[in-house]
Amino acid sequence: MNALALFALAVVAAAATDILLPGRALYHDGWFCVSIAAVAIFAIFSARRAVRRGGSAAAIVAVAFGAAIAGFAVVASGLLAPDDRTVVGAPGTDVRVDDLGGSLVFPFAQASPRSDVVLARTGHAPLPVGLNHRYVSAFVLREIPRIVLFVQARDARGGNLTITQPNGVAFLSPVLLMQQHQPIPGTGLDVPYDAFAVPAAHRLVKAVLFSPEQAATMPGLAGIASYAVLFDATDEDDRSLPNGFGVAPAGRAVRVGGISLTGRAIVFPAVEIDAIPSLPAVALGAALVFGGLVAGWRIGAPETRRPEERT
């Protein structure tokens, strides 16, 4: 029973680690899954040996079966579950996530007080995701705060202009999700950027966001302890414009290509989704392993205390 117990506990420990410390690439590695499968198989073979030696069959089968269930759950999650990923949604949009059987509803950026992303599923109560791990089926979710850029465009009279993102997550969104990065040669900087259009002014604009530390190193912005935004405007055919380039601290307007642009850096959540082994399966497996070990120990304990009776 000792080898069986060792193998079974190893499998349950691996499953528990996968659940409690999710999001490691290791869990999807082939060698990890093969190792867990091998340990579970060793547990089953050890169980056969233990039964032949005359141990309690029910307790041994429970331990082996529990190890097999937990191992299967870990291997299935590692090999079949989708890779861990981060869902980035625009404020006020719903993003369908088929694996979760529902949609992630992103709050409006202007919501006050700050509200959580909510998982909406038919037949279930809405589930706020939040910053802590939230376990759903064979997945664990949690919010990751990100910096996004809320842009405002105004015409010469100060009137608002529509912002569109033809290639963005949401077409009619003034919130740039800044998912792309661009290295700046010679500086060692790697900065997030995004692009938008101002159709009423026939402008395409690229916005590059600099962190307060990066901004502090930029000429003209030294001493400003805030994010900075660089706007590069072109016409609709992507041709350069006179005065089509400007940089300003976040929250301050800058005139670029004939329009006034303001960018505000705001914190907005994305949702990290990590696959984990099926919770009910691991719970059942662990219960069988521990139940079997306790039952086996209680049955076998008198034998260990009186070795002379074994012969």
């Binding site: 079966f65 759950a73 369908r96 099926s278």
Partner: protein, 176 residues
């Protein structure tokens, strides 16, 4: 060990395998863009009209509301608005209300534009473009028809003609 125990373990193993694998074989959903909100309660977002008065879609509960997202720079929106005006004149007395929600522009610009087209239905201003995102708009115009119960009954991406709108409404106006 008895054969019965093996059979029991085998059956349980199959059941567990099914439960473990089930989450990884979900069916992809249909519906994207504005179509995705059909059947859901219409989002109610407080806005202002072109005169600065507070407005919201909750005032149309019990009526059929045609909510049209538009902007002055959008030529298809301009082409569609006279047809929406005709629908307003024809069906207004039958409990159909039309609201045009300008996306991201100033009240002055939207008001001047609507006047130039002799639009009589209410024009609201959504300067943060919240409805554009809530409706999953893929472009402009985007039109959503809300039933008397406040649930989105139809959603359209792109311009609609008078006949398109009439057909969409007839089904909702028919006595049940």
């Amino acid at each position: 060990m008895s054969g019965r125990l093996w059979w029991l373990a085998g059956g349980a193993a199959l059941l567990v395998a099914f439960l473990v694998l089930l989450p990884f074989f979900s069916k992809p959903s249909g519906g994207s863009g504005p179509q995705a909100i059909v059947g859901r309660p219409v989002p109610v977002i407080p806005l202002q009209d072109v005169d600065g008065a507070a407005v919201s879609l909750s005032r149309y509960r019990g009526e059929i509301a045609i909510v049209n997202l538009w902007a002055t720079w959008c030529p298809p929106c301009r082409a569609e608005m006279p047809d929406l005006q005709r629908i307003d004149e024809r069906y207004g007395s039958r409990g159909v209300a039309i609201v045009g929600i300008d996306q991201g522009e100033s009240a002055q610009r939207a008001r001047a534009f609507a006047r130039s087209l002799r639009i009589g239905y209410p024009i609201w201003i959504d300067d943060a473009q919240q409805y554009g995102r809530a409706f999953g708009a893929l472009g402009l115009p985007t039109t959503v028809i809300v039933g008397r119960n406040g649930v989105v009954a139809r959603a359209f991406d792109g311009p609609l003609t008078y006949d398109d709108l009439r057909r969409a409404l007839e089904g909702l106006l028919a006595p049940s």
